[in-house]
Structure formats: structure tokens, C-alpha cells
């Protein structure tokens, strides 16, 4: 058939990889992410750990879009460097991927629109066919080219046809007969094309039994699940990339637990609804990204001043302003730590992988109620939207601590109940609406212990200190950071969030080049804990790695602990995640002459 063609390459030998990187690229709406999703499922069945990222535009159809899937025999949290396979629905995708293609790479190219013109290394094998045109002709749906190409991809990787079929079933079974059937047919067409193209397995990944107790999940979904497990029952949001998935997850699942997830008219409404629900006694949360967070600033201060427990998820995207909605960045540290007029208490935790997303959400709910303040869960686009393989969450580890929440029985035992009573740790006993003897006045105006407006100077100074005391008190409960690498290395990294994976891999590469390093992964961003000082004391050079231009985390650390002479910044702010190689090269180029020793 003239629509298929294969470039001749000398040896048809199979490359065995324990670490496989596949990109699928095309135009928005081509279904590139679907192919990633299907392959990811199939690879999990043969025992792989997977991780994927998306690179899409803020438009629904058209414009370059791609996804990268990495599979490994070890847990991974980065897309790594280089590409082994590329599925390209157009020339642009090949252009985008070109630089990353490894010598042994295989390219599967849809030439429905045009023959491939890009010149690739001669060692790269290319299979071309009119996937889209054929799907359009045979199935009346050009879009099924994604499933067609998936079939060819599976053959290139030597995956059993049955595994591919299973992936299709897994994904489309719920969608009903028609969709499932046409996708199964598309798969068959794909296999036929692969035969016609003479596709031989040229890249193979070790096949083992699927590992038990692992799940593939995004950070956003993990937060949603953590919220439900942690007793969260009221969620209000407003659609925004890359946090909408939390709204969607909770709209689908919270009702099962008799909870509610609302789409408000805007973010201001969302946060105030959540404040109301929290006041009534529900564990409440909102989630948003930068622009929505701006609008929530006033509500944040209200939670701080009125001492209303609230969890706020901030999934950072590339700012400022509308910025690049679908792109990765970590440039809202300053905002979550400092936004809002006046001094008020808040906490900021930062999960680094999907497990953290689950468990730290539970922690955040507890912290919010225990210390009666707003708690941020600071995430980033890559953490929120990328799918990764992590151990199944252990629900038996979930513990709910509502802090000083008085029931009527508790109230019977005391003679006076003041909502804002002065206490040693700054935390006053709280009641929920409807408690017969628990009447309160809660307000964002300055107030006395009863909650009545007060501008008395002595009261003011005292109650300001009371509120801030809670940040100190909370330190003991804040999630500790994790230290990786060589304990006695004198070169260190400090970072958080989705940088975990790239940094660990960079450290491995640096290690191979003879550089000993260690790494403090922060999980409490505000307040910073003593661990930061200890770590800084223990190194000569600390690279603070973050996806932003101005070094916001580095600035925060300098503000709290000084050490300006030791702190060196590694920043990326082009909208893409760190690759291990970015960190290696920036480390080497910025390392003091003596190698940091």
C-alpha cells in the first residue's frame, strides 16, 4: 500500500531499555494525550513505573500539543532527557522532538497531510502511514488515528496485541459500546498497518508481572482523594487550569460521601462559601491557580483574622497575569507567603509527588482546624497534572484531628465560652453553628475575646500576638522536609514540588561525574523550619532550584536565615519543567572553582 513507507536502516536489532521515553505530538485535539494514557496503562501491566507530562496550548483545537511518557523499572518523577520513540501526527511535532531523539529512536509518522521533510539522524528508524486518512476512510472518524497509531506503537515496543486491546477496553468500557467498538476496530487497522509497514519490535522494555499496590494518578486527583479521606466535605471552586481537575474530581466523587463540590460564580464567591461552610463545621477547601488566588487574597486574610479553618490549594502555572495557563512554573511562592494586607497567620505545605498530595492534604485539613487558620497546599502544574506511579494510598494512616472543637458536652463543663479566648498557644476553643451553648461572634474586624469589635490598644496588641503565636505553635506539626544524597556532601540542593524527580536524577549524574551532593526537599514552605538552617550550616554551597525568574524561595530563605554567600540560584522560567540535564549543567557552571568544597 502506497500510503505506508519505512526508511531503510542497516540493523534491525532490538534496543533493550529499562528506561523508556515516548513522545506523542500533533495538533491540539489530535488526541496525543490519549495515546500517552493508553500506553501508560499498558506499560503498567508489564511492571513499569510511569510518569508523563503534557505540553499543550491554551486553546482547544489546533496548535502544537504533545505528551511525553516515561516508563522505568524504578520509580521516577521526571521525564528525564532524550526520546526513544516519537509518534508524530504532523511535521511540527517532529521539529519539536528532533533535538531530543536518541540514536536508536523510532519515529511513527502520520503522513496524511504531508510526507516528512525534516531531516533526522540516519540511525533513526521512521515508519510513516496515513493513519488519519485511513481512520477517516474506514471508520468515518479521522480522530481515531490516535488509536491506530497506538497499535503501531505497541508493535514497535514489542507489546502483546492483547495488552493493547486491554488498554482500549480499560479506557473506553465505561464510555459505552459505540466508542469502544470503533476504538477496537481502529486498533485492528493499526495492527494491519504495522504488518504492512513491516514493523519489528526494535525497542524493548523488561516485562515482569504488574507490580501490586501501585496506582497511576495525578497530583490533582490525589489531592481530591486526600480531601475526601481527610474528612473534607465542602469544596467550592471556579474552573481554572491547572486546578480544574480538583473541582472535577470532587464533583464526581464528593457526593458519594454526602459532601458537596460547587462551581461558584467566581473565586471570591468560592472562598467565601468555603469560609461559611467551615464556620458551620464542615471541613472546607478551595483550589485555584494564580489569577484565582489573586482574587482570593481578601478571603485569605479573613480566614487569618477571623480564625476560620480553611485549606487552599494553589496549583501554580506560568504567570504573571493570564500568563501561559497550561504551562509549568513555581512563581507564586511570594504570593502565598506574603499576599494580603496586615499581619496574619497562615501555613504553606508543599507536596512533592502524588503520595504527598494525598497525605499532605489530610495534614492540611488537620492543621487548618488545629490552628484555626488558612493552610495552603502549594503545588505546580507538573505535579498537579502529570500522571505518576505511586504506592496505593493507605487509608488506615489517615487520622483526623479537629483540634479544640467544643461539643455541647464540653461546654457543659465550662462556665464561660469566649470564641477568641487568650490561651497559651494562641488557639482558642471553637464551636460549630447550632451548638446550644456555643454562641459566638466571628469577625474580620479587630475584636476582643468575645468577638466584638474592639480598638482597645492593649487588647489589640495582645490579640495580634495571640494570632501569630499559632504559626510558632504549628511548627511542630508541619511536614518535615526530606534529605536525600550524601550526608557529608558540601554541595546541596534545596527545592520543593515537582523538582524532586529532576533533582534526584541530576544528583545521580553529578555523582557519576564525581560530585557528591545532597538535597533538602522542603515540604513546609511557611514557616520554614530549622531543618533549613541546619542544612545550610552543613554545606558550603546551596543551590536553590525553582521554576521562576526571581528566585522567590531563595529570597524567602535569605529573609529568614541569611546565608546570602552560600545560596546560589538555579532557575528556569520558559514554561517547561526542569530536565535533569538543566540542573546538571547549571550546577556545573555555577559551582565555585573548588567544586563547592
Amino acid at each position: 500500500m502506497s500510503s505506508t513507507q519505512t526508511t531503510e536502516v542497516s540493523e534491525p536489532r532490538v534496543v533493550h531499555l529499562e528506561d523508556l521515553k515516548v513522545m506523542v505530538g500533533g495538533q491540539g485535539g489530535d488526541g496525543t494525550l490519549t495515546v500517552i494514557n493508553l500506553l501508560s496503562h499498558a506499560l503498567k501491566q508489564i511492571g513499569a513505573y510511569t510518569y508523563d507530562t503534557r505540553n499543550v496550548l491554551s486553546r482547544i483545537r489546533g496548535g502544537h500539543a504533545d505528551g511525553v511518557l516515561r516508563a522505568s523499572v524504578r520509580p521516577i518523577l521526571s521525564i528525564g532527557d532524550g526520546l526513544d520513540v516519537l509518534v508524530a501526527f504532523d511535521e511540527e511535532a517532529v521539529e519539536v522532538a528532533k533535538e531530543q531523539l536518541l540514536d536508536h529512536a523510532v519515529v511513527i509518522y502520520d503522513n496524511s497531510h504531508s510526507q516528512l521533510k525534516t531531516v533526522l539522524k540516519p540511525t533513526v528508524k521512521v515508519y510513516s502511514a496515513k493513519f488519519g486518512e485511513i481512520a477517516g476512510l474506514e471508520l468515518k472518524k479521522t480522530l481515531l488515528k490516535n488509536t491506530v497509531s497506538f497499535a503501531v506503537l505497541c508493535r514497535v515496543l514489542g507489546l502483546a496485541d492483547q495488552l493493547a486491546e486491554e488498554a482500549i477496553n480499560w479506557r473506553y468500557a465505561r464510555r459505552g459500546g459505540d466508542v469502544l467498538q470503533s476504538n477496537l476496530q481502529a486498533l485492528k487497522i493499526g495492527f494491519r498497518l504495522a504488518d504492512q509497514l513491516g514493523v519489528k519490535p526494535s525497542i524493548s522494555f523488561p516485562k515482569t508481572e504488574p507490580k501490586q499496590g501501585l496506582i497511576q494518578i495525578t497530583g490533582d486527583e490525589a489531592v481530591g482523594m486526600g480531601f475526601i479521606a481527610g474528612g473534607g466535605r465542602f469544596y467550592a471552586g471556579y474552573p481554572i487550569t491547572p486546578a480544574s481537575e480538583i473541582l472535577e474530581y470532587l464533583q464526581a466523587n464528593l457526593p458519594k460521601f454526602n459532601g458537596v463540590a460547587l462551581q461558584a460564580e467566581d473565586e471570591i464567591s468560592a472562598i467565601n462559601m468555603a469560609l461559611g461552610a467551615s464556620l458551620a463545621g464542615a471541613r472546607a477547601m478551595v483550589a485555584t491557580s494564580g489569577p484565582g488566588q489573586d482574587l482570593m487574597t481578601e478571603g485569605l486574610g479573613q480566614a487569618g483574622m477571623a480564625e476560620i479553618p480553611l485549606v487552599i490549594v494553589e496549583v501554580q502555572r506560568a504567570g504573571p497575569s493570564t500568563g501561559m495557563p497550561t504551562k509549568h512554573e513555581q512563581s507564586d511562592v511570594n504570593h502565598v507567603v506574603f499576599a494580603g494586607h496586615g499581619d496574619f497567620p497562615r501555613l504553606v505545605v508543599a507536596p512533592a509527588d502524588a503520595s504527598d498530595c494525598f497525605y499532605l492534604t489530610v495534614d492540611a485539613l488537620n492543621l487548618a482546624e488545629k490552628y484555626q487558620l488558612p493552610v495552603f497546599i502549594l503545588m505546580d502544574q507538573a505535579l498537579g497534572q502529570n500522571t505518576q506511579t505511586v504506592p496505593e494510598f493507605d487509608f488506615s494512616r489517615v487520622n483526623i484531628d479537629r483540634g479544640k472543637l467544643l461539643t455541647q458536652a464540653d461546654l457543659n463543663r465550662i462556665s464561660v465560652y469566649k470564641r477568641y479566648e487568650f490561651t497559651e498557644d494562641g488557639v482558642s476553643p471553637r464551636t460549630i453553628l447550632g451548638t446550644p451553648d456555643g454562641f459566638f461572634q466571628v469577625t474580620g474586624n479587630e475584636h476582643n475575646e468575645w468577638g466584638f469589635v474592639s480598638v482597645d490598644r492593649i487588647n489589640r496588641a495582645k490579640i495580634m500576638r495571640k494570632r501569630m503565636l499559632k504559626v510558632e505553635a504549628a511548627k511542630k506539626d508541619m511536614p518535615r522536609g526530606r534529605v536525600y544524597g550524601d550526608q557529608d556532601a558540601r554541595v546541596g540542593f534545596i527545592s520543593y514540588g515537582s523538582n524532586l524527580g529532576p533533582i534526584l536524577e541530576a544528583m545521580e549524574q553529578l555523582g557519576k561525574q564525581g560530585f557528591k551532593t545532597k538535597f533538602l526537599l522542603l515540604r513546609s514552605i511557611y514557616p520554614l523550619l530549622e531543618e533549613v538552617q541546619e542544612f545550610l550550616e552543613s554545606v558550603n554551597t546551596a543551590f536553590v532550584v525553582e521554576s521562576n525568574l526571581t528566585g522567590q524561595l531563595a529570597g524567602l530563605i535569605r529573609r529568614e536565615y541569611g546565608y546570602a554567600d552560600k545560596i546560589v540560584r538555579i532557575n528556569k522560567y520558559d514554561g517547561s519543567v526542569f530536565r535533569p540535564s538543566d540542573i546538571v549543567s547549571q550546577t556545573l557552571s555555577q559551582l565555585p572553582r573548588n567544586g563547592g568544597e
Binding site: L214, F234, V260, L275, G276, A277, L279, S415, T435, D437
Partner: protein, 291 residues
């Protein structure tokens, strides 16, 4: 409350209002209505806005919350959804509700949550010293904008179920309207919107004017408060005659927000047992599709 002599909880405050402020009348009528209807105080939450009017929650022995400027409605909705058993009353000013809070007003009308919304409408921003509000008459403090008429806008939302206007200078009518509003909301019928003309004697003393210009639409037996288009027309015409329509202006039916959103309104979110112990199996089902 407990039996102790010394009060166990806060003692309501004396209002901060200027002598003669219309808000005193609103407070009096509200107290009377709550008493007459025997609403349990501890199951009542009064959400105040920011403004002179918004301080009303300090002056009653019910649960009180002082929200952000303009944000009393989302807060009240959050409360109602978390615990539909509560009597939820949002009360604030016209600046609070129709200027900065206008969007929440629109969407609350549309969603129809079963809460009472009392607006103490004085045509000015009392607490910030007398600037014109959206309901200010043209010329007041130099304003050059046509006043907003919340009644018409409430009628324009097809899911409104209770639209009324009172006057703090007419206690009998006001008490009646507040009672109706509370009963409407507490029966789960939806959003009870009650605009109350409440003069600001300091910056915009409209007592005399409003005594003259208010008309009780319910006094006319031909007035049918269930025909939206007709009510719209009557209200519009009355306004064009330079009169201000008051009374229970519209009553309709539409599902309440909480009945639409909650799986089991009878079992409040807010008082659920959250311990994970008994739910582990259910939780595990969440995991299944990620395996």
C-alpha cells in the same frame, strides 16, 4: 443558654447606629419576628455585611458572623449548604449588596438557596461617610447615575421565589415581611429577598420622603404577586409615577439550591462523623480506577 447567672456566652451589644437611624427599626422587627416564630436562637446565624447596617449581628443573641464587604451571600450560602437545618439570615447594606456584592446577589437569586437576605437600603454608604450607593437618587452627593432597582432585577431572574420590600418606618408591614421571609426560607422554598428602606439620618435623611412615596402594593387586592410579568409591569409603572412599591411583591416556586446540590439535605454535611474507620472500604473504591 445555661442556667448560670453570669452569661456563659456573649451579651448582645448596643447598636453602634446614630440615634434615629433606620436600622433600629430593622433590628426591632427582626427580633420580633424571630421571637414570634420561636426560632431557636442557637440554630440561627446572622451574617452581617460591612457597613453601619452590617453590625446588626452584634445586637442579637444568635450566632453572628461579620463577613467581608459584599461577601455575605456566598458566606451564607456556604453555611446553608453545610447545614440546611439552620436559619440563615444575611443582612447588610445597599453598598455592600448592590455595589461590590452585586454579582453574588445575581447568582444567589438565580440559585435560590433557602436563606433570608435583608438589605438595609439607605441610598448611601453610611459607614464611609455618605458617598452615593447604587440606589442613590440622581443628584445625591453629585451622583449622575440612574439608581439601581433591585426589585426589578430580582424579578428578571426566573428562579426567584420571594421578592419583597419593606420600610423601617412601617413596623407592622416590616414584621410581617420578615416573618414571611423567614418562613419561606425555613420551609426550604428558596431565597427570600427583602429590600428594606432604612434611612440614614446622618447622610441621607429620606424619612419624610419615603413616608410619602411608599405604596403597599398588597393593599390593592388586584395585585397578583405570582405573575412575574405583571408584577414587573406594576412595579415599573409605580416607580415611573415617582412612588416606591413595597410589600410582598413576588412569590414563586423553583427548586432550592440545597435541594438540588445536596445528596441528603436531612443529614447535614457539617455534623457528619468524619472518622475514616468505617469508610475504608468506600475509600478503596476510589482507588480502583487508578490501578
Amino acid at each position: 443558654m445555661g442556667v448560670s447567672e453570669v452569661p456563659k456566652v456573649f451579651t448582645p451589644q448596643t447598636p453602634i447606629w446614630c440615634p434615629g437611624c433606620g436600622d433600629f427599626g430593622v433590628l426591632a422587627a427582626l427580633k420580633k419576628a424571630l421571637n414570634d416564630l420561636k426560632i431557636p436562637p442557637h440554630e440561627t446565624i446572622l451574617v452581617g455585611g460591612i457597613g453601619c447596617s452590617g453590625h446588626i449581628h452584634n445586637d442579637l443573641l444568635v450566632y453572628g458572623y461579620h463577613s467581608l464587604h459584599g461577601r455575605l451571600l456566598p458566606t451564607a450560602i456556604g453555611i446553608k449548604l453545610a447545614n440546611p437545618r439552620l436559619t440563615v439570615i444575611a443582612a447588610g447594606g445597599d453598598g455592600d449588596g448592590y455595589a461590590i456584592g452585586g454579582n453574588h446577589f445575581l447568582h444567589a437569586l438565580r440559585r435560590n438557596p433557602s436563606i433570608v437576605y435583608l438589605v438595609m437600603n439607605n441610598g448611601t454608604y453610611g459607614l464611609t461617610k455618605g458617598q452615593p450607593s447604587p440606589t442613590a437618587q440622581i443628584g445625591f452627593e453629585g451622583t449622575k447615575e440612574i439608581p439601581f432597582e433591585p426589585i426589578l432585577t430580582a424579578l428578571s431572574i426566573r428562579s426567584t421565589t420571594f421578592v419583597a420590600r419593606g420600610f423601617s418606618g412601617n413596623q407592622v408591614q416590616l414584621q410581617f415581611l420578615i416573618k414571611e421571609a423567614i418562613q419561606h426560607a425555613n420551609a426550604g422554598k428558596g431565597f427570600a429577598f427583602l429590600d428594606v428602606l432604612s434611612p440614614c439620618v446622618t447622610y441621607n435623611d429620606t424619612y419624610a420622603e419615603w413616608r410619602k412615596s411608599t405604596v403597599d402594593m398588597n393593599a390593592d387586592k388586584s395585585f397578583d404577586p405570582t405573575n412575574r410579568a405583571l408584577v414587573f409591569e406594576r412595579v415599573l409603572n409605580t416607580l415611573q409615577e415617582g412612588k416606591i412599591p413595597t410589600g410582598l411583591l413576588y412569590k414563586g416556586e423553583s427548586p432550592s439550591f440545597e435541594s438540588m446540590q445536596l445528596k441528603d439535605p436531612a443529614s447535614p454535611i457539617a455534623t457528619q462523623d468524619l472518622t475514616p474507620a468505617g469508610k475504608i472500604e468506600e475509600f478503596k473504591k476510589l482507588i480502583a480506577r487508578y490501578r
